[in-house]
């Protein structure tokens, strides 16, 4: 079983700065982590590898320093790592990102077939939940998003059964490999790497691929040029013309009473609604 896990290095905090010219986010100086949602997918991939043998390759597209996140993943137990880095990738939206990552996965497949691709449910910076499905669609794999449980895998028949969260319930789906999975958060707990993993991670060779090395021929499909969406404006939300009106009173009881008066004064229908509703108990 060969599993590729797409991980993204993301800024750790809510501090951001925006590039004044390109309106893209500047990441310098902000501490980074592996996108937390990706860890649920990484853990599930490691479990499948432990159960069925094979290997886990982690893949990321980002600036050279994104290598840190790959080493972290190796330290947790991944076997192999590929960093896709090239100035042509700067400013990629989801379509361009999934193009680059899918092409790199195809490149990986040239030497080692890939049975599954895992991606995070979404990132905490881009937050679109589209890159996984985009990669999947380009690779022509079966798409399994919001998976909360991998029920069974039959490597011989090349079949997998998963529980997928949908609105109002859980779908139990059976499909064929290769497939792309995004795991729901909270479905497992990322392991600590072993001492061996840590040592190996420090010494391991991370394969570093430029766009050309990944087999991308058409650079117009990468980065800003390959992105159909354009950020036209970045701005702070408008404050409402009026700030919240503080209610007057001395002490909690008086404040509470004043607040209730103010609530029902501005929402006269609310009181009768609440009465109707609470009449039940």
């Amino acid at each position: 079983m060969h599993i590729v896990v797409c991980i993204k290095q993301v800024p750790d905090s809510a501090q951001i700065r925006v590039h004044p010219v390109t309106n893209t986010i500047m990441r310098q100086g902000v501490p980074t982590i592996i996108n937390p949602y990706d860890l649920f997918s990484l853990e599930e991939a490691l479990r499948l590898r432990d159960a069925f043998g094979g290997k886990v390759t982690v893949l990321t597209m980002g600036p050279p320093m994104a290598e840190d996140s790959l080493r972290k993943a190796l330290g947790i137990g991944a076997d192999d790592a590929v960093l896709l880095t090239d100035r042509f990738f700067a400013g990629s939206d989801t379509l361009a990102t999934s193009f680059a990552l899918a092409t790199a996965i195809q490149k990986i497949m040239e030497t080692e077939p890939v049975d599954m691709v895992f991606a995070g449910k979404q990132t905490i910076d881009g937050d679109t939940a589209q890159v996984g499905p985009g990669i999947c669609c380009r690779l022509g794999m079966q798409q399994l998003t919001y998976v909360q449980k991998v029920e069974s895998v039959d490597p011989a028949k090349r079949e997998i059964v998963v529980h997928r969260r949908s609105e109002g319930g859980v779908q139990v789906l059976k499909t064929s490999l290769p497939c792309m999975i995004t795991m729901l958060e909270g479905t497992n707990q990322i392991r600590y790497g072993t001492m061996d993993d840590m040592f190996r991670a420090a010494r391991a060779d991370v394969r570093v691929w430029s766009a050309a090395a990944a087999g991308i021929e058409d650079m117009t499909r990468c980065g800003l040029r390959g992105s159909p969406t354009v950020v036209k404006k970045v701005f702070a939300p408008k404050a409402r013309a009026q700030k919240a009106r503080p209610v007057d009173g001395e002490g909690a009881e008086a404040l509470a009473a004043a607040a209730i008066e103010a609530i029902f004064a501005s929402q006269p229908k609310l009181e009768s609604d609440l009465l109707k509703q609470s009449a039940g108990y």
């Binding site: 809510a14 909690a252 404040l255 209730i260």
Partner: protein, 363 residues
């Protein structure tokens, strides 16, 4: 910020030059999400919003209904007219009974390629996001996720605004040179439009799916329905009480629940509470949790970061309880109690309890 009035990058500032092949793309489409016989209300919310976009552009609004040959599918068609669609594109096929990515992606991309809409809106639900990603990739067009505001700019391009990473920013995204312009919008971000009464009708374009079960690799073995009775109905609740880090410790969250109970309200919280395990993740309110539109929202010990704000701005009335009169939440709350949530919450609970029981007896 200067980006407000001048285009910041040359690429962003360039004039839209729509390639020849997209010139004929017209009309606004809304994907009507039908699952297990029921239309997700976000679809009606999007028809309401789509109506405004279509009117601004002077084009038609269409609902896209995909489902099995069944009365419920026809009801979704009628519902689309009721909520403002001029036309419905209908694909009825047993393969469209339960959601699976493959047949739905084929259905949608075929429709788009044949009938060429300029804008396509989908709900940012698990289904909508699963579908939107593969449809946009197949069509090689732009997709803006989780928008909080949609508008048409002077050049007739869709301006899709969404929160962007971190503290305090929103960004407006355009898909200049590709069609359709796709966007997903989360439930409750847009207001529910008025439904038309009486007889409704409109155009109906029925299109076959042209796919066989054998063509679909993924099979549905089972569906385990949620026990919806005790699931959080947060998104659609009339009154919501929520707590944040200002509560200090997990035990204090009970004060939020107590107030919610007296009000017959749903309760929720800010994201750090979910991360710390004080509340379940389906109780999270905000950009990466639920968007709510209650008549009354009471937020205790919540600072009001942008990711929280975008999830609650649709509330009719917001009461903030916070020790800090300068907390960001004061910028969008209507009323505030400046004070300690640990004493204010119990006082509110008591006062509401009295008021409601007195008036109940009186009435």
């Amino acid at each position: 910020m200067s980006a407000d009035n001048k285009p910041a990058s040359s690429r962003a500032g360039m004039k839209k030059q729509l390639p020849e092949k997209f010139i004929n793309y017209k009309h606004v489409w809304v994907f009507v999400e039908l699952e297990r016989g029921e239309v997700h209300p976000v679809s009606w919310e999007l028809l309401g919003e789509g109506r405004k976009l279509a009117d601004k552009l002077g084009v038609q609004l269409a609902g896209v209904v995909m489902g099995p040959p069944a009365a419920t599918t026809r009801a979704a068609v009628e519902g689309s007219y009721r909520y403002g669609a001029d036309t419905v594109y209908l694909m009825e096929d047993p393969l469209l009974t339960d959601y699976r990515n493959e047949p739905f992606t084929k259905a949608m991309t075929d429709l788009v390629n044949t009938y060429q809409p300029e804008i396509l809106l989908l709900g940012a639900t698990t289904l909508g996001r699963d579908l939107a990603g593969s449809v946009a990739t197949t069509l090689a067009t732009g997709l803006t996720a989780d928008c909080t505001e949609l508008a048409i700019d002077d050049e007739g391009s869709l301006a899709a605004t969404r929160p962007t990473f971190g503290g305090s920013l929103l960004c407006t995204i355009h898909t200049l040179n590709f069609r359709p312009q796709m966007a997903t919008i989360r439930p409750r971000v847009m207001a529910m439009p008025e439904a038309k009464d009486g007889e409704v009708s409109g155009g109906l374009i029925e299109v076959p799916l042209n796919m066989k079960e054998d063509d679909v690799i993924t099979k549905i073995l089972d569906f385990i329905a949620d026990n919806t009775t005790n699931k959080a109905q947060l998104a659609y609740a009339d009154v919501v009480v929520a707590g944040g880090m200002g509560l200090g410790k997990p035990e204090n969250f009970k004060l939020v629940k107590d107030l919610a109970e007296v009000l017959g309200a749903e309760y929720g919280g800010s994201r750090p509470l979910v991360q710390k395990g004080w509340i379940d993740s389906d109780r999270q309110i905000g950009q990466t949790g639920k968007t709510i539109r209650p008549k009354l929202y009471i937020a205790a010990g919540i600072s009001g970061a942008i990711q929280h704000r975008v999830g609650v701005e649709g509330a009719d009335l917001i009461l903030a309880i916070n020790t800090d009169p300068n907390a960001p939440i004061m910028d969008f709350a209507h009323l505030a109690i400046i004070g300690d949530a640990m004493t204010i919450l119990p006082a509110l609970t008591e006062a509401f309890r009295k008021r409601l029981s007195v008036n109940r007896m009186a009435g």
